[in-house]
């Protein structure tokens, strides 16, 4: 194993290169651009044996990925923000046709006003589309998850597309030391894709037909069921990846949760700052923990309930707004998960960092303390607070 300097985008491109992808179809958009640029270099230099389809839009990018995936090819793409929004209708089709496409997403704000910096609005707009959604905290995780995502998506029990999310600019453009596996190790971990349902002219199959009210609902019900098969397969994939890399992943990562009374729940790059704050506070005797979600869809509801048992309060950090909703999207999910199971747990929803605004250690400490006050005082069970905004 060697350690090389890679940005988050480069880490995803490097992982895809090692995964022997058959078809890449993508369209550039900031802050994802480096992924397709890097991959284009690999293609141009003959470092990969990949058909690169340089499409004219993200809509066509995902359309071509679906077509290629249906032939049994291993398929990769990347996007962000408006690009992901333009793919929206195809996101549902990719998952409904059970295409195990892997997509790197450098999360970015949505217009208007136009903003190219990082937040989770793009992914949150797509959270119900039937994809496996994974958030990485840094370039190392982005690299590791990309490789694991192909194994997970292509597993015959799963056959669902996956997205690997990294915070735009904060991770996509920051250079980090990344430990990369040998090509052979990745090849052994991820053999070429084989799918018994792939298009075969000798065995005609009608793909994507019309299903009227007499059948459509059953299709969707089955799709909901498939989501339940993801966590056990994910566990298996992570275990095997741990063996070859020494890095063990799962649905989420906990810090200081053994004896915590209050915890911060977050996704992406903010987790590093949250852990830093928790470490400092624990040094002062505060019983604080951090839960960083890797797997956002399917949402690991039962496991989170077990993880949060015994806590007085949690602070859920949302890097997106769900307009008109009572809470941010991650917090809504959490409330749904704990409803009736942790009746005494007080929840604070901190909405932060939109359009690339920094979240500081001081701010995180501030919301942690507010969460703690909530636990003690006769406060409402749930509160929403916008952090780091002029209001």
């Amino acid at each position: 194993m060697k350690r090389i300097g890679l940005t988050g985008d480069e880490a995803i491109a490097y992982a895809a290169k090692q995964c022997d992808v058959d078809v890449v179809s993508a369209y550039p958009i900031t802050p994802q651009t480096i992924i397709v640029e890097k991959y284009s270099e690999y293609v141009a230099n003959g470092e990969v044996d990949t058909e690169f389809v340089n499409v004219e839009s993200e809509h066509s990018a995902l359309s071509a990925c679906i077509g290629a995936s249906l032939t049994g090819a291993r398929v990769f793409t990347a996007t962000a923000s408006q690009g992901l929004a333009l793919m929206h209708e195809l996101l549902y089709i990719a998952s409904s046709l059970r295409c195990p496409i892997v997509m790197g997403i450098a999360n970015r704000a949505l217009s208007a006003p136009l903003n190219i910096h990082g937040d989770h609005s793009d992914m949150m707009g797509s959270r119900d589309c039937g994809w496996i959604q994974i958030f990485a905290e840094n370039a190392q995780e982005a690299y590791d998850w990309t490789i694991q995502a192909f194994r997970l998506s292509e597993d015959p029990e799963v056959l669902l597309p996956s997205s690997i999310n990294i915070d735009g600019f904060i991770i996509s453009h920051s250079m980090e030391g990344v430990e990369v596996l040998e090509d052979e190790a990745v090849r052994a971990f991820l053999p070429p894709r084989s799918d018994a349902r792939a298009i075969d002219p000798n065995r005609p199959l009608t793909i994507g037909p019309v299903a009227l009210p007499d059948y459509y609902f059953e299709f969707k019900r089955q799709q909901a069921e498939v989501m339940k098969k993801v966590p056990p397969v994910l566990e298996r994939v992570c275990r095997e990846f741990g063996k070859i890399s020494g890095r063990r992943y799962g649905k989420f990562q906990s810090y200081g949760m053994e004896d915590a009374r209050t915890a911060i729940i977050c996704m992406g790059s903010a987790a590093g700052t949250a852990r830093h704050v928790a470490k400092a506070l624990r040094g002062k005797g505060e019983k604080v923990g951090v839960v960083k979600l890797w797997l956002y869809r399917p949402f690991p509801a039962d496991e989170l309930v077990r993880e949060l048992e015994g806590l007085k309060s949690v602070v859920v950090m949302d890097r997106a707004i769900s307009f008109g909703a009572p809470l941010g999207p991650l917090c809504s999910d959490l409330i749904g998960a704990i409803y009736g199971k942790l009746p005494k747990l007080k929840v604070m929803n901190a909405i932060y960092g939109l359009g690339g605004r920094d979240i500081t250690a001081k701010e995180i400490e501030g919301i942690y303390r507010e969460g703690l006050r909530m636990a003690k005082a006769k406060a409402p069970m749930v509160r929403v607070k916008y952090v780091g905004v002029r209001e």
Binding site: D22, V23, V55, H59, S63, A64, G67, V210
Partner: protein, 305 residues
């Protein structure tokens, strides 16, 4: 292939689909499928053909068939072509697979034009066939970029102020040819031999090919279901829809019409043009005739270059 007897008897579009009575689109599809040279995948844009041939749990397709969305048949075809190309190069697939994309005029002239342009520019080896019934027939006869000037549709109704569609039909083949593709052609279901030969050519050329086929719609054009082929023939005989092909930029009229019938003969077969025959709207028929004449002259000149 030169006679009907020499055509394969194999029918890859099964009977029992739910296309409307008198719809010539299944006829076009059956002709297309008789021109295949080997393993083929069909990509179908959302539209009449798609919804009426694939109602779960039934399918009329006896070959691999994929429907993804309305506006992206060409992009999906690009991906399928790229997928098989990669798999063949890597030794995981061993037969050349032809890819044919089918879309209506809505999915081709309008919402799907960007995806089509992209696929043509990239040079994928596939055939795109547009069946043109000159409106969004699947959603109930709304005007498209292909609807003829003057035609009545539910979104270009002839009213007291505006007598039908005010804009002219897009030149789809002109757009396709501007991409410098190896083959583009028009076809009519009334001329089976011309049609099948063109489909085969489109499959055989190395690179993208586009066929624009006129397919009268009894529901939307307001003619008898039994007259679809006759109307498709009149479209050619009046020079309203000339049959030609463009091979590597070289135009050729494949079915010259030296003594055309007046365009009126075509228009009067259809209820969608009924209002044009009112005295105050006669000018529109004349305008259509001028458009027909100009277009045919243009094709003659282009084919003499």
């Amino acid at each position: 292939m030169s006679t009907l007897r020499e055509l394969t008897k194999e029918e890859l579009l099964a009977p029992g689909h739910r296309m409307c009575a008198g719809c010539p689109v299944p006829t076009l599809v059956r002709m297309t499928l008789k021109a295949l040279r080997g393993p083929t995948v069909i990509v179908n844009a959302t539209g009449c053909l798609e919804v009426a041939t694939s109602i779960y749990p039934y399918t009329a397709w006896r070959l691999p068939w994929v429907h993804v969305a309305f506006e992206n048949a060409a992009a999906v075809a690009s991906g399928i072509e790229a997928g098989f190309k990669a798999l063949m190069r890597k030794g995981r697939w061993d037969q050349k697979v032809d890819v044919i994309a089918l879309g209506g005029d809505g999915g081709t002239f309008d919402i799907g034009l960007q995806a089509l342009s992209g696929a043509l520019e990239r040079g994928h080896d596939f055939l795109y066939i547009c069946y043109d019934n000159e409106a969004y027939m699947n959603t109930g006869i709304q005007r498209s970029g292909s609807t003829t000037f003057g035609a009545a549709t539910t979104t270009s109704p002839p009213g007291a102020k505006i007598p039908g569609k005010r804009e002219w039909k897009k030149d789809l083949i002109g757009i396709a040819v501007a991409h410098d593709i190896p083959y583009a052609a028009t076809a009519s279901v009334a001329f089976w031999k011309d049609c099948i030969a063109k489909v085969r050519k489109g499959i055989e050329v190395d690179g993208p090919a586009v066929i624009h086929a006129i397919t009268p719609c009894p529901r939307g054009w307001r003619h008898e279901p039994s007259e679809s082929i006759k109307v498709a023939r009149l479209a050619v005989q009046t020079r309203f829809f000339p049959l030609y092909e463009v091979e590597n930029g070289k135009y050729r009229i494949t079915l010259p019409v030296p003594n055309p019938l007046p365009v009126e003969e075509f228009l009067k077969t259809q209820g969608r043009f009924r209002h044009l025959f009112k005295p105050e709207n006669r000018w529109m028929i004349e305008a259509i005739q001028r458009w027909v004449d100009k277009n045919y002259e243009r094709l003659v000149k282009l084919s003499q270059l």
